[in-house]
Structure formats: structure tokens, C-alpha cells
């Protein structure tokens, strides 16, 4: 009797073990003597909440009013309060400190554009990136058509910078993803692309004014 019972118990136990074994590993596993594995210093993404209790006073922000070497000068306009457009309008007068992009800079800026902007504004800058897809993507608002829309082709670079830095309508702020120099470079890249598309469209248009000029003689 006892023997039968024990056989039944063992069978049930094995079955339970087999069933409970899943491929999903939700626990990291164990460590043996992690003396040199765990950092003594405070690492990035470690729990920093008790630093003050440990007697450490650390503020991870740079000292106010200082800037890194080689960094572009700060943008002096602050973000407008909702419903106010004073600084957005004032931004029109701010000049882009980047005058031109070298071939290498252009390539790098294009890479930055494709990573950060292209997903909405499209690789061709036509406002039709993979998130919008002619309205079939998950993003409901149509991103700005950067090339081919007179409004954005006429928009001053300073105002574009304002929008990239602080966000505009449904677009968020990109200040945490692109530093000031990169933001100005990306805007220069957009302006260069706009100029290039106008130049390539020009030959067709240029034919008509050329005739006009001869006619005036």
C-alpha cells in the first residue's frame, strides 16, 4: 500500500516539475561571491535615492551659467506660456550660427535627421514618415512637410530652432536628444534640402522667365 502511494506521489511530483518548467526566464539567476561584480561606487542607473543619507551631496546638473567647450551659445528665448506666442515670433530674428555644412558634416547631420526626425517627417522630408504613412500609421497628426510646403520653406531658421528645442503643437522637445549644435545643423540640413529641391525644380520653371526677359528687349 505504502509503495503504491509513494509511486503515485513521485509520478505527480515529476509531472508538476515538468509542467512548471517554462522557457521564460523571469529571474536573473544566482551569483557566487559577487565581491568584484558589484560596484562600490555609485553607478549609472543604480539607486541614487539615499545619497544624501549616505552623506553624499551630488547634483548632476552643470553649474548654472556655465557651458561646455565647443558648445553653441545658449538660445536666449525661453518657452512661451500656453496661448502666448511672443518668443515664438521673436525667434524669427535669431540667426543660425552654422553657415554651411562640409561634406562630412552633411553626412553626419543626415544621419541625425534620419534617426530623430525622419520617423515622422520622412526620409524625403515630405512629412510622410513611417509613423504617419499617409494617415495609416499610428500617429494621427500630419507631420510638417519640410520640403514642398511654402510655409516651411519660408520659415526662418530661428523659429524652426524654437520648435525643435521647445516643441510645437504635437511635436515634443528634442533638446534632450540633440544638443544645440546638432539642432542648428539639422535645421541647416533642412534648409539645404529645401534649396536643393527648388534648384532641381528650377530648370522647368526657368524656361518661362527666360523667355520673358528676352521679350522685354
Amino acid at each position: 500500500m505504502m509503495k503504491k502511494l509513494s509511486i503515485i506521489a513521485i509520478t505527480l511530483f515529476t509531472a508538476a516539475v515538468i509542467i512548471s518548467c517554462s522557457d521564460v526566464k523571469r529571474q536573473p539567476g544566482s551569483v557566487y561571491m559577487p565581491d568584484m561584480a558589484n560596484s562600490r561606487a555609485y553607478e549609472t542607473y543604480a539607486d541614487h535615492s539615499n545619497l544624501t543619507e549616505a552623506g553624499i551631496f551630488y547634483n548632476n546638473k552643470p553649474v548654472a551659467g556655465t557651458m561646455a567647450r565647443g558648445e553653441e551659445l545658449p538660445f536666449h528665448l525661453t518657452k512661451d506660456a500656453p496661448g502666448d506666442t511672443t518668443n515664438y515670433t521673436a525667434a524669427k530674428l535669431v540667426k543660425n550660427p552654422i553657415d554651411s555644412l562640409s561634406a562630412a558634416e552633411f553626412k553626419e547631420t543626415e544621419r541625425l535627421y534620419l534617426i530623430n526626425c525622419g520617423v515622422c517627417h520622412g526620409a524625403k522630408l515630405n512629412g510622410n514618415g513611417p509613423l504617419y504613412k499617409d494617415g495609416n500609421g499610428p500617429y494621427a497628426a500630419k507631420p510638417a512637410t519640410l520640403v514642398g510646403d511654402a510655409k516651411y520653406e519660408a520659415m526662418p531658421e530661428g523659429q524652426m530652432f524654437y520648435s525643435v528645442a521647445y516643441g510645437k503643437n504635437m511635436m515634443g522637445s528634442y533638446a534632450s536628444q540633440l544638443n544645440r549644435k546638432q539642432r542648428w545643423q539639422v535645421i541647416k540640413y533642412i534648409k539645404l534640402k529645401q534649396a536643393a529641391s527648388k534648384a532641381s525644380a528650377a530648370p522647368a520653371m526657368a524656361a518661362a522667365p527666360a523667355k520673358d526677359s528676352t521679350a522685354k528687349k
Binding site: T11, T14, A15, I18, I19, C21, S22, D23, V24, K25, R26, Q27, P28, G29, S30, V31, Y32, P34, M36, A37, N38, S39, R40, E43, T44, Y45, P82, G83, D84, T85, I115, N116, V119, C120, P130, L131, G135, G137, P138, Y139, A140, A141, K142, P143, A144, T145, D149, N169, M170, M171, G172, S173, Y174, S176, Q177, A208, K211, D212, T214, A215
Partner: protein, 416 residues
Amino acid sequence: MISYRSIAKTLLLSAVLLLGSLLATNVSAQDGKTLFSTNCAACHAVNKRSTGPALAGVEDRWPDKTKLHAWIKNSAAFLKTGDVYANNLYNEYNKTAMNLFPGLSDKDIDAILGYIKSVPAPGSEKPAAGAAAPAPEGDNSLLFGVLTLVLAVVALILLRVNSNLRKLSIERSGEASEEEIPFWKHKSYIALIAVVLFIVGGYLTTKGAMGLGRSQNYQPVQPIYYSHKVHAGTNQINCLYCHGGAQEGKHSNIPSVNICMNCHMSINEYKGEKIYTEEGVEVDGTKEIQKLYKYAGFTVGKPFDASAAKPIEWTRIHNLPDHVYFNHSQHVKAGKVQCQTCHGDITKMDEVKQFADLSMGWCINCHRETKVQFKDNGFYSIYEKFHQDLKSGKIDSTKGITVEKIGGTECQKCHY
């Protein structure tokens, strides 16, 4: 005479061109969808609140069609007339001024309104029946386990039957049966079991000891069900959009809430393919986005204030021991290694798991096999001799320079 003719020709030509361009604008009045897309879609969706209100049923909401037309053409001027509905609307949408559209004719506006009417309400079209839930993985191993168990039981029963039959036949023939030894006392059985236990036990012990401190396939439950497959796969968001720190420094950063909100200010529901946890439980994507809004302190329709956001405590998956130095930018920026080389096919993972075991053997192996991208890479211009040897053919350029050759397997490269 000739010049007069040419002037006449040019005038005619320019007149035709002018007329053509005028006609073009007239023709476009018929295409409400195009007009909507170029003028309105940046701030309005038909069935969803965006920067401005959802436009479905806009004509029913406005008391008067002439007022609606006036509002669309010049919202600023219309606000000044003191219209109650318009002013309430302006305040409800955080005083975001609507652009002025003096260029739109009444016909254009009617075309747009006609298009808005023609768009079906959401839910009226039935969603395509989603694919059946995928069979949870691990099913096969369970099946094999049960099969093995059943076969083992059958084999045992057959053995018992066999021995019983033999016993019976011996008794029949009347020969004196020798004393039966039960199998748990049988020497050969014991020896066999001992050998099997030694092999299995040895294998498990070694494997367990090597696995200490390694966590390949670690796939923790995260505070928000964030699917990399949906974001990086379906929606083609670049890895560096969120983890831009990987090209800047040692750590690849975990994106802060404001980066999520760049898109999720607008995307507040999930309508893609069905998503499941690893255990096969279906996940409601919209609810997961609501969780994000809780962390972000964001309510739909109000402006997002990043300073009110609280960090999400994601569970870290990849962890290297402190005695190893690893730098992301060195691999991503200088080495131009793809993220997927070490992190696996992230674009196909709903829940991310640790792809590589991150053991030293794995690192060293890659350093031995991977060629350094010497060409057009300013980072390695200092290795002048290698560059010369490559040019002169002393080093086979098809084999190239491995990471090992520039010191990638030296102890101090990573342990110091």
C-alpha cells in the same frame, strides 16, 4: 514686326500659364482629402483629438455654417467678435491659436467639410479578425516529457510482465527456481544508476557553476509592457532615437519619459497587431500607454509638462560585473558595430531578453573574428604601420585587421 510677334507669343504663353495655374487651384477644390491633408491634418484628425478638436460632426456642433466658414478663414478675427462657442473652444484647447486660412475659398471649405463627413466613424468598420493566439512556446518540451514518461512506464510494465511470465514458465516446468533478487539490490542495476547519476550530476553541476553570475535569456517583467517589436520593428524607430547615449558615452541610456512623450502626446491608443506576454496572455496596448501617462503626469488634451514627470523604474537586463570595462560608444561609434550583434534581433522581441551570455569567452571570440573598419574611419588613423602594410599587400586586405591585432584581447583592455 518680328519683335511684336514674339511679344504677342510670350504674352499668350504667360496668359495660358497663368490661367493654367488658376485652373489648378480650382481643380484642387474638388479634392477635399488633399486639402484636408495639406491644411488641417497637422493639427486636426477626423476622429481623434489632436492639437485641435476631432472634426467628425463639426458642422453639427457649430450653430451656423457662415460662422464656421468665418472661423476657419480667420479664427483670430472671429474670436474678437466675442462668439461664446468659439471662445470656449479656444480656452478648452489651451489657447492654441488656429492658423489663418485666407487662401481657402468657400468652395474649398465645403470640399474639406464634405471629406470629413465621408470618413467613417471608428468602430463602424469591423476590425479584421486577428490571428489566433500563438501556441505558447515550451509546449513541445512538455509533450516530449510526457511522452518519455509514458514510454518509461510502458517499458517498466513490459519488463514486469516479462519476468512474471518467465517465473510462471519455470514453475510449470517444475524446475527449482532460484531465489529472485529484487532490482534495487541487483548489482548491475545499482552500478548503472550510479554511472548515470554521476554523468547527469556532473553535467548539471558544471553547467550551474558556469552559469553563476550569467543571465542569458533573462527576460524580466517590466513596469510597462513595452514592445520593442512594435516600436523598432513595425514602426521603424531607430534604436538611437531612444538610446542615443550609446553613441555618446559608456552607457546606453534608458530613455526618459519625455522621449516617450514625443510620440505618445499624439499616440494614445494601440491599434496594431495583437500583442502577448511570453506566457501567452494578451496585452491591452492602450492600457499600457495609460500607465505611461500616469508616470508622465499627462492628461490627453492638456499640454505635457516634462517637469511633472516621474521616472519609470525599468528592470535592467544587461549587467556586466564591475571588474570589466565596457564602453558603448567605442563599439557603436568607433567600431560601427550594429546593436543587434550583441543584443540580438530586438526588432522581433516583444519583451526583451538577454541575447548573449556576456561571458568573457563570448567577448574574446568576437574580438578575434571581427574586422576593424579601417577604411574611412578617423578613429584608427593612428595605426600607420597597419595602414602601410594593408596598402603594400603585406597584410591580406580581404582578411583585414581583427580587433585582436590592435590589442583587443589584451587583459588590460577591459580589466584595469
